[in-house]
Amino acid sequence: MEQQPMLEWPAEGNLRVPYRVFADPEIYRAELARIFLGPTWQFLTLAGELPQPGDYLTTFLGETPVIVTRGHDGELHAMVNRCAHRGNLVCLKQRGHADNLTCVYHAWRYDLAGNLDSVAFRRGIAGKGGMPASFALEQHGLKQLRVDRFGDLVFGTLSPEAPPLGDYIGNLIGSRIHRVLHGTPKILGTTSQILHNNWKLYFENVRDTYHATLLHSFFTTFRMSRLTAEGGVDIAENGAHHASYTRNKVDRVDAATSDRLYAGMPSMHENFRLADPGFLAMREEFGDDTTTQILSLFPNFVLQQIQNSIALRVVLPKGPDKTELQWIYLGFAEDDAEMTALRLAQANLVGPAGYVSMEDGAVGNFIQRAIRGSEQDCSVLEMGGAGHVSEANRTTEASVRSFWHCYRPLMGL
């Protein structure tokens, strides 16, 4: 079954998406195998989270649990968090420090790179029991990931086919990562959101430059990221990654025209004012005039810059209609107190309670509920034409189409 297509993709190609891909358990299982355990690099952690040899934390590749360690060699290692003996979780805690990794069930011990060091009572006791002579430690290590860094971002993959990380990300998108992460990342806090929808509905949302000022009133009313401002979307060659950006101070049309274009939009509230709007002001930081940049790496990583609010987001599939969205809010070690205060105030814009992101936590679920009984129908991706390449324009679904352009061959769809 894995070989023949699980559904017939419409002739329109990237202009249509069958709703079944958001609901079908068989397609979901295939995604876990072909995408999340396949030739893609996925974010594991920030390097700074594991400063000392012996530090470890746990995360996921899709639904597969993973351990990330700092080895005694000072290198980062990652392994599937499943004991080679009987499959127990080797690391039970989300983070910790250990000289080695010992499974609690039968005390098999692995080194920090996942190699099996010892098996309890391997030689038996008083000549009885123990492992057969044929048992070779080196054949029973933890399944190891390839690990690589892009700046302070640590990625992993289980696939030997995945290209080197640098090539995977590419210069176009890579430079936009460097632009934002210009200092030493310091975590201001984390949270996660449980989304009752398929993971791809959230990832489409992130890559959708068309919706922001139509769904999020703050963007519109406070002129934060209007489509009438300069901006565009960069898209990696194979469509995998994207970065959309707004140069807010540069209007493509005059303010009056912009207001006219947005007049009557439900997201436009002319008379909505804040009693304490101070936190909205952006402080010069990035050495350019880009006020908002939303960047995604296929299949599930997001880097966000909205004014001075910087966050990483990781999209973890938890079932065909359940997704965990993890947020890591960042500042930099180099920040002064005022900048830290500003980032904390601007954190009100994003996250589960964010003024410009609250809706994104719900809209995927709205779609999930709406498509029940319509799995044979399709969504329509024609805004901005049929392209899935970079544009100096955001009134387009180019980067949404590019997601499917990358997704379909991986899935054989």
Binding site: L188, T191, H196, Y329, A345, E359
Partner: protein, 159 residues
């Protein structure tokens, strides 16, 4: 125990009861008035709180920022109709009595959506500092420490 000590205790019970009915009855416009003008209100997780990470999911350094939160919920943000039901328990005065008091209490919030779906949305503790302003006690600091790192769907109505 003096009658004053007893009265104080009942005043605080009243403050906490009034606060949750305000939220549960959708009288959000009354909500900022439970705080001092220079208040600090923050919703965070135990994980952030114990790691001394300053982030707040909602982070307000003034009563005006609370008012803005309410007007955004009323005018700007889009979310499905929903209501909270707060249960509060085990209020304790942790510091020295006086015109400023340090308090902690446990809470549980059940969220009900318009279709009737009920979930345990939040559980955790209030870590508070209250100050007497004339006849009323007001929150100078309210830190809502959620036990869970997870928020189901979104956090619209404050806690």
């Amino acid at each position: 125990m003096s009658i004053e000590a007893v009265a104080l205790r009942l005043e605080l019970d009243e403050l906490y009861a009034d606060y949750v009915h305000c939220l549960d009855d959708d009288e959000l416009e009354r909500w900022p008035d439970f705080f001092t003008e220079d208040c600090f209100y923050r919703v965070t997780s135990a994980e952030n709180y114990e790691a001394n990470r300053p982030l707040g999911l909602i982070y307000a350094t003034s009563r005006n920022m609370l008012k803005d939160r309410v007007s955004a919920l009323r005018e700007a943000n889009i979310y499905e109709p929903q209501r909270y039901r707060h249960l509060v328990s085990s209020l304790r005065i942790t510091g020295e009595p006086g015109d400023v008091l340090d308090l902690v209490a446990n809470f549980l919030v059940v969220r009900t959506m318009q279709d009737g779906d009920m979930t345990v949305f939040a559980a955790g503790r209030y870590v508070d500092r209250v100050r007497r302003e004339g006849e009323r006690w007001k929150f100078g600091t309210r830190t809502v420490v959620l036990d869970s790192r997870q928020i189901d769907t979104l956090l619209a109505i404050p806690l």
